[in-house]
């Protein structure tokens, strides 16, 4: 089926990877970027998108989004979340392996890819399980998972039974050049915890998760990354100290990358003082110093991506006493706007903020997306930079309405999303 030839006219193109930051036309043919700027003068097109006053950026890549399918379709589905992603300018979603069944066989990842292709909205890539059933003991069939399309391996939030198993898992993954995606957590130190161990947990009598649960794990993981030479990525770091440890390791040439998730860039444990279940996160929201440390890591580049850590829930999941509620927030709808807000609030230059959603995660995933060079896949997000809107259940596209940002003003609105040159979302 022939794809339409599309000309995006008069938009402000910001492509950090290619150092573009100017009003330039973008032309799309056969699903790819065909021409940019001057080269587009004699481009013939089927569709013209008038992007005057709008920003044109590479499609957003979300490093960590739970789609809840297979297994938890009462929370969300590949259909609902891939469409929600498209509506939020996201063209590639990376889902962790903790579905039910777990992504530990080719059949599960093939089913996810198949369903995503059927929906035809955002593209989905997946991480295979590092251990069978995420049991932390038996290695998964990583070669088969890679062949079936898994772009990396991870044990999601589940712990590994020992440092020896961690070492072997890293070695086995390195054999097949698979990146290991890590959740930095020492399970013994974080056991039963539900809030950062600090003054707020002391006050509320909630079992705490100490900072050391993250830093001890990062230290251990870094030692084993150096020992084995595996390529590794720390997802969703939350503490200032862990970010500095990773920055130091990067300086020393260790093949390691890291990201931060949106909630930790805006919220702290103080927000949970009312026992509000929307502030229940694992890992937990930390302190103001930690939040500053994450922003510092984003500025300095130690954190090369920002993800949503999307965890859509049904309403009941949050209707219980704080420790009994399920952790996490629905984050697809707020990923791009709240990343742009970091630039508005002058925490980060605009081009760097956009890089953390595009070229940064693309490099971590080792995928040829997140930039608009000639010949690249035409994954494009076009947004109105000054069209503020309010986040609430009615305005959210995700099936999960659980968010700590309810009522917040979002600074920018997505008008068009293209994936592989196909328009997968438009709005006024």
């Amino acid at each position: 089926m022939a794809k339409p030839r599309i000309k995006i006219s008069g938009g402000h193109l910001i492509d950090p990877h290619n150092r573009m930051d100017a009003v330039l036309d973008v032309c799309v043919a056969q699903g790819r970027v065909a021409a940019i700027g001057e080269g587009s003068a004699d481009f013939t097109y089927d569709i013209e998108i008038d992007a005057a006053g709008l920003c044109v950026i590479p499609g957003v890549i979300d490093l960590c989004a739970r789609l809840r399918e297979p297994g938890l379709e009462y929370k969300a589905s590949i259909d609902s979340e891939c469409r929600a992603a498209a509506a939020s300018g996201i063209t590639t979603l990376c889902c962790p392996p903790d579905t039910n069944p777990v992504i530990d066989t080719p059949a599960v990842i093939e089913m996810i890819h198949h369903r995503a292709r059927q929906v035809g909205a955002a593209r989905v890539v997946g991480l295979g399980a590092l251990t069978h059933h995420l049991d932390g003991v038996h290695l998964s069939e990583m070669a088969a998972l890679k062949q079936a399309g898994c772009i990396g391996v991870s044990n999601a939030l589940a712990p590994l039974a020992s440092t020896l198993i961690e070492r072997r898992a890293f070695e086995y993954a390195a054999t097949f050049d698979l990146t290991v995606y890590l959740h930095a957590d020492d399970a013994a130190l974080s056991a039963n915890g539900c809030l950062h161990e600090g003054r707020v947990s002391t006050r509320l009598g909630l079992p705490g998760i100490p900072e050391a649960a993250e830093t001890v794990a990062v230290a251990r993981d870094l030692a084993l990354i150096q020992q084995t030479g595996v390529r590794a990525h720390f997802g969703r770091l939350t503490t200032q100290r862990a970010v500095r440890m990773v920055a130091r390791a990067q300086y020393d040439g260790v093949p390691v990358t890291a990201d931060a998730a949106i909630p930790y860039l805006y919220l702290t444990d103080l927000d949970a003082l009312d026992f509000g279940a929307d502030y229940h996160f694992i890992p937990p929201l930390r302190t103001q110093e930690d939040r500053a440390g994450l922003l510092e890591g984003l500025r300095g580049g130690a954190l090369s991506a920002i993800c949503s850590d999307h965890q859509p829930h049904e309403a009941d999941a949050k209707l219980a006493p704080f420790p009994a509620t399920q952790a996490g927030a629905s984050g697809l709808d707020s990923l791009l706007p709240l990343t742009l807000k970091l630039a508005h609030d002058q925490h980060l230059p605009l081009a760097d903020a956009i890089a953390r959603l595009t070229s940064g995660p693309a490099r971590i995933l080792n995928l040829p997306y997140g930039e608009l060079g000639i010949g690249r896949a035409a994954d494009i997000c076009i947004f109105a930079p000054d069209a503020a809107w309010r986040l609430n259940a009615a305005s959210m596209h995700s099936q999960g309405k659980n968010t700590p940002f309810r009522g917040w003003e979002m600074p920018a609105k997505v008008r068009y999303t293209l994936r592989d040159g196909t328009i997968i979302h438009t709005s006024d």
Binding site: R199, S201, T202, L204, L270, D274, A320, P321
Partner: protein, 326 residues
């Protein structure tokens, strides 16, 4: 970030009783004064007053309790309320009915008040946020967070023993602060009542992160911590703390933190010894002290009824459907 105070109604009166934190000095004194008036009632031969006649109070306990539940039940009966005791195995609710389902079902029976105990911190707040406007919630203990009626009966005991001026008192709380909802509620209440000095005595493993931020002075040595105190409150040490990495042995704990006559001699000569019960003789307190002349452990239990009557009647006093009030 805004904290909504669920406990206080628009008229400034007690709406729910969830925590001693966030209440006012005036409200705490009102509870103590009201309890004083009920203490007279409980000492008479006819112990009932008709204040809550026709009202239904549900004791909703998701955690085992004898003492607290019994005194709540007695308090409600002495106020002439109808009382329903419901003991829910928390694991059963996990399987099917949610906490909110349980609540809605009971509400449908036209209940006026829930007295709630649950192993999760924040449960009473959660329930208070979801009950109908005419229903009050009393926290009978939530996780490690709060046990405000216990704290208030302790304040009542101190007031009876030492007089109403907390400003000249030094109070030491000894034992497992980290896991204690009683300690947290006591600390807030003592500070709200302007206690001159609130001390905490425990090894580091039994203290929560930065406990000083609650407004206490920390001691690791019991003799130092007891020096010149007017009141010492011993906390119960759960047996399971002995088995993990919290403490090496009962023996060493008693050596260091067990209250004996010898250690008590560091305190003010007219020191009052308290314990929320049930006590572990020979673990946190020596029998000689527990049964000694300075111990008011049994009075605490008696006062618990008057204090719970006070809190129940106050929280119910501004319900729209009420019939009797003064």
């Amino acid at each position: 970030m805004s904290r909504t105070n669920l406990q206080i109604g628009d008229d400034g009166k007690l709406r729910h009783f969830l925590s001693t934190e966030g209440l006012t000095h005036g409200l705490l004194n009102e509870i103590l004064d009201t309890a004083e008036s009920f203490a007279g009632v409980t000492e008479q031969s006819v112990k009932k007053v008709p204040l809550l006649r026709g009202r239904t109070i549900v004791n909703l306990f998701f955690e085992a309790s004898t003492r607290t539940r019994t005194t709540f039940e007695l308090a409600a009966k002495r106020l002439s309320a109808d009382v329903l005791n419901i003991n829910v195995d928390a694991s059963a609710t996990v399987k099917g009915e949610t906490l909110l389902d349980t609540l809605r079902n009971l509400e449908a029976m036209h209940v006026d008040m829930f007295v709630v105990r649950h192993c999760d911190s924040g449960t009473a707040h959660f329930i208070a946020r979801h009950v109908q406007p005419h229903v009050s919630v009393i926290n009978a203990g939530d996780g490690r967070h709060a046990h405000p009626t216990q704290a208030m009966l302790d304040m009542f005991t101190i007031r009876r023993e030492k007089g109403a001026d907390f400003g000249r008192l030094r109070v030491a709380i000894v034992g497992d602060i980290a896991h204690s909802r009683v300690a947290r509620s006591q600390i807030h209440a003592l500070n709200l009542l302007n206690t001159s000095e609130v001390r905490i005595v425990a090894p580091r493993t039994l203290l929560p992160f930065d406990v000083e931020s609650l407004g206490v002075k920390v001691y690791h040595d019991l003799r130092d911590g007891l020096r010149d105190v007017d009141v010492v409150i011993m906390l119960r040490l759960q047996n399971e703390r002995m088995k993990g990495a919290m403490l090496p042995s009962e023996h060493e704990y008693f050596q260091l933190y067990g209250l004996t006559e010898e250690k008590l001699s560091m305190a003010s000569p007219d020191v009052t010894v308290m314990h929320p019960g049930p006590i572990n003789r020979g673990v946190e307190i020596d029998s000689q002290v527990a049964d000694g002349s300075r111990s008011v452990i049994l009075q605490q239990v008696t006062y618990g009824i008057a204090v719970r009557m006070a809190v129940m009647s106050m929280a119910m006093q501004q319900r729209p459907s009420q019939e009797n009030h003064g």
